[in-house]
């Protein structure tokens, strides 16, 4: 598929969505024809092609969308440059972390390369009092929450299993077990509703996690209790080596219909569309209309983690096709053609990126190993006799080396 034909198809689709394919509240936003096509397994690949909400084409052309334009209306050039800056710096941070893993400074890294728009768009839609439940790849969302990026590296370096106070930025710790956090988000949202607050909660997960029972249970609970939660699925097409077709016979956003709340698929490489759709979903949550499922249709350009080898399960052509839809390039084209950014902006940002990379590199190398006794810390809030006993044994064992004359 050429870049041109991709563009032509996607823009036609967004025109279709504009013309009333979006459903009424409480239904999945799918044209009946598409849903029928999805029933045929042979057509699964085709049906999985995006029925996308899109505001920016891969060429960086702004397309109108009657339903979602209002959520990004009044965006100033400065705000647009801000989104661009977020994506560039997030990508730079991610690249630095990948390099640090290759240099042996990190034990593992889960790259977000290609998913910057999904994360920055949704992340910038949030209010400070909203609460985020991430999986382990939400580095861009963490950035939007003001979590220092170096804090994200502790668990990958192996000095802790978290590393930040979730309540400082309303950004929960990364969750490695797939899908668990969607239930935590739902419970938290139930609490928000009980408190009578108008905050919203957002749960991030991937296409692989959509197969997990916990995700289905979180859909059930959130629907039953009308919890103010947005489920934000980044469908990056691959769950390690397994394609989305191994997770679902219907497009993921359509799952919402069976649970009684709306699902919508957004172009996950379009930061404006991600922002607009997430804002819409958050507003629904705040106004008591309950959960929404947003499927950001995107692509993991890198490996699942640095331990993965994607050349074993997918071809170069696929990645090349997605590179043509690069989220950063697309916004840059828009900024340039609309004269919202000049060369000076891009140069300054380049320098800022390099400074960030340097800061991250130095911070990781300076990160101390934890104290040995950290093993026994925070196992229990109220203490536990066995932990105390084993800590004392460990201390005696450690002290026995000191008694050997300091060798």
């Amino acid at each position: 598929m050429t870049v041109e034909s991709t563009a032509a198809r996607t823009s036609r689709r967004s025109a279709g969505s504009k013309a009333g394919t979006t459903g009424t509240k409480g239904t999945t936003r799918t044209p009946a024809k598409k849903a029928a096509a999805a029933k045929k397994p042979a057509a699964a690949k085709k049906a999985a092609e995006p029925q996308l909400v899109q505001l920016l084409t891969p060429e960086g052309k702004r397309v109108k969308n009657a339903e979602y334009d209002k959520y990004v209306a009044g965006f100033t050039p400065e705000e647009l440059r801000g989104l661009y800056r977020d994506m560039v710096l997030t990508r730079r941070f991610d690249a630095e972390a990948t390099s640090l893993q290759r240099q042996g400074e990190l034990g593992l890294w889960a790259s977000l390369l290609g998913q910057e728009a999904a994360q920055i768009g949704s992340g910038r839609a949030l209010r400070d009092d909203d609460y985020v439940f991430p999986t382990y790849r939400e580095h861009g969302v963490a950035w939007c929450r003001g979590v220092d990026p170096t804090n994200l590296l502790g668990m990958f370096r192996g000095v802790n299993n978290g590393g930040w106070d979730p309540n400082s930025n309303n950004f929960q710790l990364y969750t490695i077990v797939i899908g668990s956090q969607t239930l935590h988000a739902t419970g938290y949202a139930m609490g928000v509703a009980k408190d009578g607050a108008d905050s919203a909660v957002i749960a991030y997960f991937g296409d692989g996690a959509s197969s997990q029972g916990d995700v289905a249970e979180s859909f059930t609970f959130s629907a039953v209790y009308n919890a103010p939660v947005v489920f934000f699925c980044q469908n990056n097409q691959w769950a390690i080596s397994e394609p989305t077709e191994k997770q679902s016979r219907v497009p993921i956003y359509q799952r919402a219909q069976g649970f009684g709340f709306p699902g919508v698929r957004v172009d996950g490489n379009d930061v404006l569309a991600c922002l607009a759709v997430t804002r819409w979903a958050l507003e629904r949550a705040r106004s008591g209309e309950g959960p929404t499922l947003v499927e950001a249709f995107t692509y993991r350009m890198g490996a699942h983690t640095t331990s993965d080898d994607p050349t074993r399960y997918r071809g170069d052509e696929e990645r090349q096709a997605w590179e043509a839809k690069d989220p950063i390039l697309r916004l840059r084209r828009f900024l340039e053609t609309s004269n919202h950014a000049d060369e000076g902006f891009f140069e300054e940002l380049e320098a800022e990126s390099e400074a960030l990379g340097k800061r991250v590199r130095e911070a990781v190398r300076a990160m101390p190993d934890p104290d040995h006794f950290a093993i026994f810390e925070n196992v229990y809030a109220d203490g536990h006799a066995l932990v105390d006993e084993e800590r004392a044994q460990f201390a005696a064992y450690q002290a026995s080396f000191a008694d050997e004359g300091g060798n």
Binding site: F133, N160, N161, G162, G163, D165, P166, N167, Q172, L173, T175, V177, S180, T182, L183, H184, A185, T186, G187, Y188, A189, M190, G191, V192, K194, D195, G213, D214, E217, S218, T220, F221, V224, E377, N378, V379, Y380, A381, D382, H384, A385, L386, V387
Partner: protein, 325 residues
Amino acid sequence: MADKMALAKAINESLRHALEADPKVLIMGEDVGKLGGVFRVTDGLQKDFGESRVIDTPLAESGIVGTAIGLALRGYRPVVEIQFDGFVFPAYDQIVTQLAKMHARSLGKVKLPVVVRIPYGGGIGAVEHHSESPEALFAHVSGLKIVSPSNSSDAYWMMQQAIQSDDPVIFFEPKRRYWDKGEVATEAIPGPLHKAQVVREGTDLTLAAYGPMVKLCQEVADAAAEEGRNLEVLDLRSVSPLDFDSIQASVEKTRRLVVVHEAPVFFGSGAEIAARITERCFYHLEAPVLRVGGYHAPYPPARLEEEYLPNLDRVLDAVDRSLAY
């Protein structure tokens, strides 16, 4: 003041007290509302505290525990009911990978005061998955606390202490004792949640048990007394942490220990007790620590459960074997 009430009623009163005392306490589970729970442990609570405090949930155990974690993160203190022991496994992942570890993961920033109530154990003629004793599976996981009361007064007090704890507590309720009546000293100051209690003083041998087996051990001690043997009975009350100091003190006095639980003996809590008490009391012991419990087999159909469960004769047999050394 002391009231006599069934163990299930004592828990009910305890939950009522906790709901009254702290607006952040929530009751959640399948059928806990209108029905009052299949064992009526939550009877009348929804009527008096409303649907937002006593919450009937979808039939999804992972969802129950997972959303309770989220509510705890928001500042609530959920007490969730798993309807029967064998139904906890769909929630096991949430309990083990999330509930138990989030405090450590957050370097102490996050507290999870969640109580998971599990009616457990056999002896009521139930069908499969309704009579299991999975406490060792939870005790093996750091970050959880595991308790099991054996009588009404403990049930009343231990439940409130569990709810007040900032740690997740798995609260195993001995369902075959739900209808046993006992005094509840509602105004007495309770001992610590994780402290064992000598419920019968003795000199010849220590019987250590918790939950449903404490009553059996008291019956064994009565029977043994008729044969001139003076057994001490220890109600452990807490499986994690285990009060080894109290067991040690008793064993240093009696020099013999038999541990009784319904769960399979293999890798059970008795194995842990035997190993540690052997280490602590090696020179005091006159006999190896013996264990009486279930077999390494699935919990049998109800018509066979009396063969599977520890009973008077099996425990007395172990007492004889210990005393024969």
